[in-house]
Structures are given as C-alpha cells and as structure tokens.
C-alpha cells in the first residue's frame, strides 16, 4: 500500500494553509472562467500561467488544477440556467438541464449536475491514485520507439475518434506540428522556417495559440450569435439538495456507465466533450424511458456531467505518467510543468514525489471544496451572467491581451493572439477541431525528438516501431485507430 502512504504524504503537502488558500482562489477563478463566455478551462489556465512563474511548482499546480475543476463545475451553471453552454463539455447538459430549469426544477438540476460532477471526478481520482504509479513504473522501460508509438496512438485516436471529418482533424494536427517546428531545431541547432524573421527564432508559443483560438475565437462566435441572456432563477436551498440526493442513488447504473465512459475517454485523448455526448447518448439508448430525454430527465443531466468530469480528471493520468496530455487544458498544465522546470513523464513519480502526490491529494480536496462552493454560491454566479455582453466582451478581450502579453512580454504575441482568434472562429465554423492543433503544438518537439532518436537507433528503418512486442502492439493499435474512419467508409460502400 505504497500509494496510500504517498497519498497521505500528499495530503500533508496540500493541507498547508497557503495551499488551501490557492485551492480556494483556484476554484473561485475556475467557476468564474467556466461561467463567462470566451474564457474556458484551457485559455483561463493559459492566461493565469504567467502569474505562477514565481510560485513553488506544487502550489502553482494546485491552484491551476483547481481552476480546471472550477471551470468544469461552472460550465453546468450556464447550461442549466441560461441554456448557454459555458464550456463545450456542458453542451450535452443543456439538453435536459434547461428544460428542468424551465419547469422550475433548476435547483434539482443544478444539485444533480454538481453532485454527478463530483462523483465522476472522485471515481477518476481514485483511478489516477492507484493506476498512475503502475503506468509510470511500466513506462520507465519505454525507449524512444515506445514513446513515439504512444504519441502516434494519441494522434491516431484523435483522427479515429473525432466527430469532425478525419481529413480536417489531420490538417489541424499537422498545422500544429508545423507551427511547433518553427524556430531553433533542438537537435542540430538549425533555424527552421523562420524565413529570416528574428522574432520567429523562439517559435510559436502554444499558450498564445490557446488564448487566441479558444478565447478570442469564442468571443467572436458568441458575438455573432447576438446573445441575449435570458436566464432562469437559480437558488438552491438545503431542502432541494437533500431531495435530489435522495433521488440520485436510483440512477447508480447511469452514473457508473458515465464514469467508465469518462475515464476511458479521458485516458485515451478523447477529452471531456466527446465523453459527455457519448455518455448522454448511451444513457438515452439504455434508458427505459428514452422519450423523456430532452424534456427534462434528470438522467440526462447526470450522464453527461459525470462523464465530463471523469474525463477531465483522468486526462491528467497520461499527462503525469507519460507526458502526454489527454485534453487541451491538460496540455496547458503540461506546458506549465515544463516552464517550472519539471520534466513530465514516468520519472516524475520517483523524483518529484511531493509534487505528484500533492497534486493528487489536491484533486480530492479541490473537488470537495468545489462541490461546497458551487452549491452555496450559485445565485452569485447567475448574477454575473446577467452582466450584459457589451461589458463582458471587451473586458474578456482585454484579459486575453494581458494574458498573451505576459507569456513572453512581447507585443508580437498579442498580435498573434488576434490572428489565432480569427483562425479559431473560421476553424470552428468549418469544423476543423482545435484540440488536435493545440496538442500537436505542445507535443510536436517531443514527438519529433523521439522519432529522430528512434531513427538514429534503427539507422533510418521504420521497422523499429514494430521491433519489440510493446512498441509493436502500441503502433498496431495506433494504425487501427488511424484507419477507423476508412472502415466506416468501406461499410457504407458495402451497403451500397
């Protein structure tokens, strides 16, 4: 029971007064980010990352991961009360959450959403606690070919699993890789694709891309919809909470399925958004009363919320153990690790015990704190949403600009942020997915390095990726994922 010992050590780290303070700040900022349009988990964390450069890495990650949990909670508030998903993963929550609110059962819907989120996150943290050390130990034997194979699997499953057209997923991803390659080549020191521009020496920073794509892009989209916020009243009394809690155990099967879907989608880089849709769909298919879905079935709130939180939380497992983030927000956290001078990957578990277990302990605490905070402060957040968009929009643009500037103290980055914003807008409308672009931008250098190291070992032969059973089976799996859309196409053709 090494894990339990480590976990208690972690609680000792997380339960110091300053760290609890950072946890609370993180949760509050997170819910705020989740509630506001245009600010989300990924770009919220990206904007706040520069503020943590001076903090100890452990406190910093506790605060930033709590922002992430807070954002996951916050998305549900806007979905249920305003029918506006504050986050992409809470789109599925609007299907039944808003009808419930319209029927005057907003408090029940909110309580169900928050509690399910908590359950999903809790199950995922349990999994991370016991599975992550094993995965890390296992990954210690990985050489460059295995690492590249895992990265290949990550990217292949994006193409295989995405809702968007596979070619567009591939294009977005390759653009990420291309942007990552700009600047100084870390192996040979050659300048690549700078075309004589000195400002491109450092390459493109993914934080800027995240702030632009998700932040500015989202604001442009929201503006286009010409939003008028028309919301239901949200106030939760203790009676509502207890009533809902009494009802919830009835839906344990829905919950459990949602947890499984969420954990699976989080570890394989599907992320919270597809997990919530998949879970909603499954719950509807299996339910005895599928006709109630969309009209305010409580299961329709439980299923997506549980899965989204389970996925969001378990996305940290591959990030911590393999250095491969399972979601854009996890990717930003990974970027944070690199900036704080920590090398993500299996060695983190042996060399930075305090950091890793402090983070895992804070996941338990952060979700408990988060649940209490959101249950008690809902009316307050709903009030923030009533602030008209003509005030919110410019303020968010200002915040994004400040965030982009502070990454490198460079005005060029602020200009780039706008360009990425316009790109985010166009990509969203044309159904190019953003997550693979961001992930490729973060992982590009790493993937390229492990690819080149493997090529050096094998003297240029691609066979190295199937030479050991481990690398071979991961590569095989990756190829299956890659060809998945083609299978579907064949089936369609067969049917005629």
């Amino acid at each position: 029971m090494d894990e339990l010992n480590n976990l208690f050590q972690g609680f000792a780290v997380a339960l110091t007064l300053p760290n609890i303070g950072f946890m609370l700040i993180g949760i509050f900022l997170g819910v705020l980010i989740g509630v506001l349009p245009g600010l989300g988990g990924a770009n919220g964390v990206a904007i706040l990352l520069p503020l943590t450069f001076g903090m100890s890495p452990t406190s910093a990650i506790i605060m930033l991961s709590c922002i992430y949990w807070g954002a996951l909670f916050g998305g549900a508030i806007t979905s249920i009360l305003f029918n506006i998903p504050g986050e992409p993963w809470s789109v599925a929550t609007t299907f039944d959450g808003y009808p419930m609110a319209q029927k005057g059962k907003a408090a029940h819907a909110l309580t169900a959403a928050f509690t399910s989120s908590f359950v999903g996150a809790f199950v995922a943290v349990l999994m991370v606690t016991f599975l992550a050390p094993l995965v890390a130990k296992f990954a210690l034997n990985f050489g460059p070919p295995e690492f590249f194979a895992v990265q290949l699997l990550t990217f292949a499953s994006f193409i295989g699993m995405s809702k968007e057209p596979p070619i567009k997923t591939m294009l977005a991803m390759m653009l990420g890789f291309a942007l990552a390659a700009v600047g100084l080549d870390s192996v040979t020191g050659t300048l690549r694709m700078t075309y004589g521009q000195e400002s491109l020496l450092k390459g493109f920073d993914f934080l800027i891309a995240v702030i632009g794509l998700f932040g500015i892009g989202e604001i442009l989209l929201t503006m286009e919809e010409g939003l008028a916020f028309k919301g239901q009243k949200g106030r939760i009394s203790l009676k509502d909470v207890l009533e809902t809690w009494k009802e919830l155990p009835k839906y344990w099967a829905t919950s459990l399925r949602a947890c499984l879907i969420g954990c699976w989608m989080g570890v394989t880089p599907g992320g919270a958004t597809p997990a919530s849709f998949m879970s909603y769909g499954t719950a509807k298919r299996i339910s005895k009363h599928p006709e109630n879905f969309g009209k305010g079935a409580i299961e329709g709130v439980i299923a997506p919320e549980t899965a989204a939180h389970a996925a969001g939380t378990s996305a940290l497992l591959p990030m911590l153990t393999l250095g491969i983030p399972g979601s854009p927000t996890a990717a930003v956290l990974l970027g944070g690790l690199l900036i704080w001078g920590l090398q993500p990957g299996p060695l983190l578990f042996t060399e930075q015990k305090d950091f890793v277990w402090g983070l895992i302990a804070s996941m338990y605490l952060g979700n408990i704190v988060g649940l209490i905070v959101v249950l008690t402060t809902v009316p307050w957040w709903a009030a923030i949403l009533r602030i008209p968009f003509s005030i919110i929009a410019p303020v968010i643009v200002v915040i994004c600009a400040v965030g982009a500037y502070t990454v490198h103290n460079s005005m060029l980055d602020v200009v780039l942020m706008l360009v990425f914003g316009l790109m985010g807008y166009a990509f969203k409308k044309l159904k190019y997915p953003l997550a693979p672009l961001v992930l490729a931008l973060v992982l590009g250098d790493m993937a390229e390095t492990s690819f080149r190291q493997s090529m050096l070992i094998s003297k240029g032969s691609l066979e190295i990726f199937v030479s050991t059973p481990l690398a071979g089976s991961i590569t095989g799996l990756a190829l299956i994922m890659l060809l998945w859309p083609a299978f579907g196409l064949l089936k369609k053709l067969n049917r005629g």
């Binding site: 653009l175 291309a178 643009v397 400040v402």
Partner: protein, 165 residues
C-alpha cells in the same frame, strides 16, 4: 463570394484550404532547404517537417477537390455566416484589432480604459460616466494585480511615463 444575404460555405472552405496549401508549401520548401534526407549523423533537420508538409499539402488538396466536386450541387446554399452575423462578428473583431494597435501607442492601461468605455457606449448605449468608470475600474484592477502585486510590467505609454512609472 457573398451572394445575397449570406457568406457561402464553399468559398470559405476554399479560402481556408488554400491557406493550408500555402503553409504546406512554406514548410516543404524550407525543409528541402535545411535538408530532408539522411545526413552523416542521422536525420537532417528537415526530415520530420518535410513529411508534415506533404500531409498538409495532400489534405488541403483533398479538401479543395471535394469542395469543387460538390460545387454545382451545393450551389452556394450552405451558409458560413448570415450577413448580419458576419457584421456582428466584425463589430467585435475590428475594435479588438484597433485596441491591440492602440496598446503600442497608449500602453495597455489607457488602451483598455478607452476600449472598454468606447465599446460600452457604442454597443451597450451606456452613459459616458458609467462607461468610463467601468473602463477605469478594469485598468485599475489590472494595475494593482500586475504592476503592484505580481510585479509583472505591462506595456506602458506616455501617460505612465509622465506620471513617473
């Protein structure tokens, strides 16, 4: 590109794919310049990006072909954005671009104040007093947070210099 009341999807599709095509050519030419082959000490710097460039080229070409094939059938019916939607988007994009340009001249505090206040007056029809106080409030919070608390300097203009910052 605009027909009647909306921006056609097919034109935007072509435009973005053409951008991808352009990027792919940039990537491929530069990879050839730095060497895409197998050097004396292993793969050359252009080895990996070259294939990335090729995939970009292939994908973009595919999208262009697909769009052209469906050109007649689509007949411009699929909507990228309605005209009024596009205009609303521009109402956000252009002021934001002006704001970023203004940071170069005015520094971020004055630019933010002006941007927030102007946007509120113009889009939200708020009174000058209200708008300017919200804008000033935002700038003050930014100043307290970055300049004072976290000691992260933000871009400044002549006003701050004049005030001695």
């Amino acid at each position: 590109m605009k027909s009647g009341n909306h921006l056609q999807m097919r034109w935007m599709e072509l435009l973005v794919a053409a951008c991808f095509l352009g990027v792919s050519l940039l990537v491929i030419t530069d990879s050839i310049r730095v060497g895409k082959a197998w050097g004396s000490d292993g793969p050359e710097p252009g080895y990996f990006p070259f294939y990335i460039g090729c995939l970009l080229f292939g994908g973009a070409a595919w999208i262009i072909l697909q769009t052209l094939r469906a050109w007649k059938q689509d007949d411009g019916k699929e909507v990228f954005a309605e005209k009024h939607e596009w205009n609303l988007m521009m109402l956000m994009l252009i002021p934001s671009a002006v704001f970023v340009a203004a940071i170069f001249v005015l520094g971020i505090y004055l630019a933010s104040l002006t941007f927030v206040a102007a946007f509120m007056v113009w889009q939200g029809k708020y009174s000058y007093v209200k708008s300017i106080s919200v804008g000033a409030g935002i700038s003050a919070v930014l100043f307290a947070l970055f300049e004072v608390w976290f000691k992260l300097p933000l871009p400044k203009g002549f006003i701050e210099t004049w005030l001695g910052y």
